[in-house]
């Protein structure tokens, strides 16, 4: 009797610890104008932001839920707490002053170690508030700003925030962008001045500890002309038996001839609805590079978008999605070529196992103005058993003849021939299959800094077992 080789699920035990949030300050469950007012008051919003939140709530109530993606019937906004402030919260820039529970959390996740090793700066968000933010002196001296967005709203960068906040992702974009506009809290603001090249990455880490809560952080990054930044975000949460919600928003402005690399390792718990929105606008000669690993969540809608607004601007999107038991991960990207001679490259991998559903969804739009543009999309999916599902839904809308667009998609299983070849070279079948699956996801791993590539491999933990009888 031949036993089927099994690929084990991701080992999440290192993320599944939690602390009591009894002492935390929370708003009531649900979403009402009164709750939005309360959040606005807590955040000491300027008047325009207060009005913006209420307008966003109106928009949220008018827009229907998407009729095309995974079901979000299990998400009831009446049961979601949209704002949770941890006890004793005050944003710190000295790690020793961070409250013990929170400090323990991030120590377990390895955040300060990462900072000590190789980061130019670190931000850490716990539930709805930033609890720690620090940037190395040498980086600050170059004029780089890396701070929590609430502070920036009241400081010297207030006008810059007002000019850019939810301009790329307006609340009218979709229902959960409107929700974000109404209840956003926390997140980071980064400004890299003209010509500044940051040799080391900045990192933000988001931890949602509270049961039945939502996290709505806003990340706003402006990389000025000729500058370079690598920004890394990570996220996790302990698992509860009720739905949690993440509806963050990331807006990236990439200046002329500037480059921004935005890396994400997403490992939300499997009760999480991850309805996140990310968008970049790239000016002439600029480049945005998205590196994305999606491993967690119960349901994900995640499609980072690049708007290539300047002549010769470029985007690259590299991702891996791993959907296991109970997961329906709808991921992909969008690219809008809105200027001449722009180019985009998309390279994705999806893995489905143990009943998981993985959908790759993309849109490449080449507008009338984008003569001379090129796009290449490659998506590959691996089915590890016959109870899972993997779909690819790539769309291309080409509105000028002066364009070159290529697309390839492939869905299949692990090739018996390749396993046979590796076994003929002396590997066991288990090792051969593990090697193939690891190699399949390597498009993302090789793009990450070493420490994060290791973290990703830890996340995957493709433990192979099975006897060949």
């Amino acid at each position: 009797m031949k036993e089927k080789t099994q690929v084990a699920d991701i080992d999440r035990s290192m993320y599944d610890f939690r602390y009591s949030e009894d002492d935390a300050y929370k708003v009531d469950e649900g979403l009402t104008p009164a709750i939005v007012e309360q959040i606005s008051k807590e955040k000491n919003d300027p008047e325009w932001m207060h009005d913006f939140r209420l307008k966003s709530l109106e928009i949220y109530n008018q827009i229907p839920v998407p009729n095309w993606g995974p079901s979000i019937e299990g998400l009831d906004m009446d049961n979601i707490v949209t704002y949770v402030r941890p006890k004793d919260n005050k944003m710190q820039n000295d790690w020793n002053n961070v409250p013990t529970d929170i400090k323990d959390t991030f120590e377990k996740l390895g955040i300060p170690q990462a900072e000590r090793k190789s980061l130019a700066g670190v931000g850490a968000q716990y539930d709805s508030e930033l609890v720690y933010h620090n940037v190395k002196d040498s980086v600050a001296e170059k004029g780089v700003v890396y701070t929590d967005i609430e502070s920036a709203l009241h400081g010297p960068y207030a006008d810059m925030i007002k000019d850019h906040f939810m301009k790329l992702v307006p609340p009218t974009d979709h229902k959960f962008a409107a929700l974000h506009g109404a209840v956003w809290s926390g997140g980071s603001f980064v400004y890299v001045p003209k010509g500044v090249h940051l040799d080391f990455p900045l990192q933000s880490y988001f931890r949602l500890n509270a049961k039945g809560a939502g996290q709505f952080e806003h990340t706003l990054i402006i990389v000025d002309d000729d500058a370079y930044l690598h920004f890394i975000e990570g996220c996790s949460a302990p698992k509860y038996n009720v739905a949690n919600l993440h509806a963050g928003c990331v807006e990236l402005y990439v200046g002329k001839n500037a480059t921004l690399r935005y890396s994400t390792i997403e490992n939300w718990s499997k009760n999480m609805y991850n309805l996140n929105t990310k968008r970049a606008k790239v000016e002439e000669g600029g480049k945005v590079e998205w590196i994305s690993g999606s491993f967690g969540s119960h349901v994900s809608y995640l499609y980072p978008e690049s708007v290539l607004a300047g002549k010769g601007s470029r985007s690259e999107f590299t991702s891996v999605t791993f959907a296991g038991k109970g997961q329906n991960l709808d991921t992909g990207c969008k690219v809008v070529h809105a200027a001449p001679d722009t180019s985009s490259y998309v390279n994705t991998r999806s893995i489905s196992k143990d009943g998981g559903i993985s959908t790759f969804r993309s849109a490449v739009v080449i507008s009338e103005k984008a003569a001379g543009s090129k796009s290449s999309v490659s998506c590959q999916s691996l089915m590890l058993d016959d109870i899972s599902r993997s779909d690819t839904i790539p769309a291309m809308d080409i509105r000028t003849s002066d364009a070159d667009v290529g697309h390839e998609a492939k869905i299949g299983r692990i090739s018996d021939e390749v396993v046979f070849y590796l076994m003929s070279r002396g590997m066991s079948e288990e090792d051969a299959r593990a090697l193939i699956v690891s190699g399949f996801a390597d498009n993302v791993g090789k793009e990450l800094p070493l420490e994060y590539a290791v973290e990703m491999n830890n996340l995957i933990q493709l433990e192979m077992k099975g006897a060949i009888g």
């Binding site: 095309w68 849109a363 016959d386 839904i393 769309a395 003849s401 697309h407 998609a409 869905i411």
Partner: protein
């Protein structure tokens, strides 16, 4: 008039792309068209019958319902012998009326047959429809060739649905030359083990023509095979939407689906939409898709112009080459010749 949703994508995506389906206001049919010619083949019997109520074609249920309102009957072709010569049915639409024809083709076990359908409205501006239900029994092989030549004012809705039994095969060659609005939908139900489809589409759309396509290969049987190849040219301000879905349904172990599309964009204002979908709920399968969309290579253009050809002549030659490549799959020489004649007259 009925508001219809046509060519519905089996798995929808973002609404803002406007690719999930196409809305169309369809006029009720005045009646059915009489073929301008029919060449029957031995072993084929033709009878009046009823179009199947449970028909599931590529254009969609709205279209079937709209046709049901005026005409539930169909011409039924029962093919019980191998046909050496093809069955040929030609329609020449001379006036601007609204006509709809429905056909049922039943191909008996282990038989082989070719049906060639020619639809032509070079000068008229009506709305014409065709719906074909094909039942392909065990081991049978049906080849359908459809040539469509339409004016810039004519609308054509062309729907095909197939049911394919064990080791049955369906070959389809469709060539579209023009049309204000041409809707093509083909849905293949490959329920038989080892059944296969091979679909080829060539199109050349000019002026303000619009082509809207929905091909679906529904793999339910084990070891089923699908091959879809689309090759076309857009000129002037023409538009095209191609939806191609390989649906690998749980249980279709050993199935394989391949889809390939080439689009040549020749003039700046053209618009091409492509959405190749692979849906997969089975492990032991393979699905592949490739697409290349773009203009003529500069090197090629430069070379041919340096040999004395005008740019327009190069364009016409390359467009013709693409249609010829699809037409080369037609075994009937008269039909191939007719395609050539259409192309000779096409841009004059």
């Amino acid at each position: 008039m009925s508001d219809l949703k046509l060519n519905v994508l089996p798995s929808p995506t973002w609404n803002w792309l406007r690719m999930n389906d196409t809305n169309y206001q369809m006029k009720s049919a005045d009646g059915y068209a009489s073929p301008s010619s029919i060449v029957t083949a031995s072993g084929v019997s033709e009878n009046d019958g009823i179009f199947p109520a449970d028909f599931d074609g590529g254009v969609g249920h709205d279209f079937s319902k709209a046709l049901d309102q005026t005409n539930k009957s169909a011409e039924v072709f029962d093919i019980n012998a191998d046909t050496t010569d093809p069955l040929k049915i030609a329609f020449k639409y001379d006036d601007d009326s609204t006509l709809a024809n429905r056909f049922v083709i039943n191909l008996a076990e282990n038989k082989k047959a070719t049906v060639i359908m020619n639809f032509e409205a070079e000068k008229s501006a009506g709305q014409y429809s065709s719906q074909v239900a094909a039942n392909i029994a065990k081991g049978a092989e049906l080849t359908v060739v459809q040539i469509m030549r339409f004016s810039h004012e004519a609308t054509f809705l062309n729907d095909i649905g197939t049911e394919i039994d064990d080791k049955g095969k369906f070959n389809l060659v469709q060539i579209v030359l023009g049309g204000k609005n041409v809707f093509l939908g083909v849905k293949n139900h490959m329920s038989g083990a080892g059944s296969a489809i091979d679909m080829k589409l060539g199109y050349y759309m000019t002026g303000d023509d619009n082509l809207d396509v929905n091909y679906v290969a529904s793999h339910t049987g084990k070891r089923t095979l699908s091959d879809i190849y689309v090759n076309g040219v857009l000129r002037d301000r023409a538009q095209k939407t191609f939806r191609g879905t390989i649906d690998l349904i749980k249980g279709c172990k050993g199935a394989k689906g391949n889809e390939l599309e080439d689009v040549l964009l020749m003039d700046k204002p053209v618009r091409n939409k492509t959405i190749p979908v692979i849906l997969c709920a089975e492990e032991d399968v393979e699905g592949n898709h490739g697409a290349t969309i773009g203009k003529l290579a500069k090197d090629l253009l430069f070379y041919l112009e340096s040999r004395g050809m005008s740019r327009e002549a190069v364009y016409e030659m390359m467009a013709r080459a693409r249609i010829d490549a699809i037409a080369s799959n037609i075994s009937d020489e008269d039909t191939k010749k007719r395609v050539g004649e259409y192309l000779d007259e096409f841009r004059r």
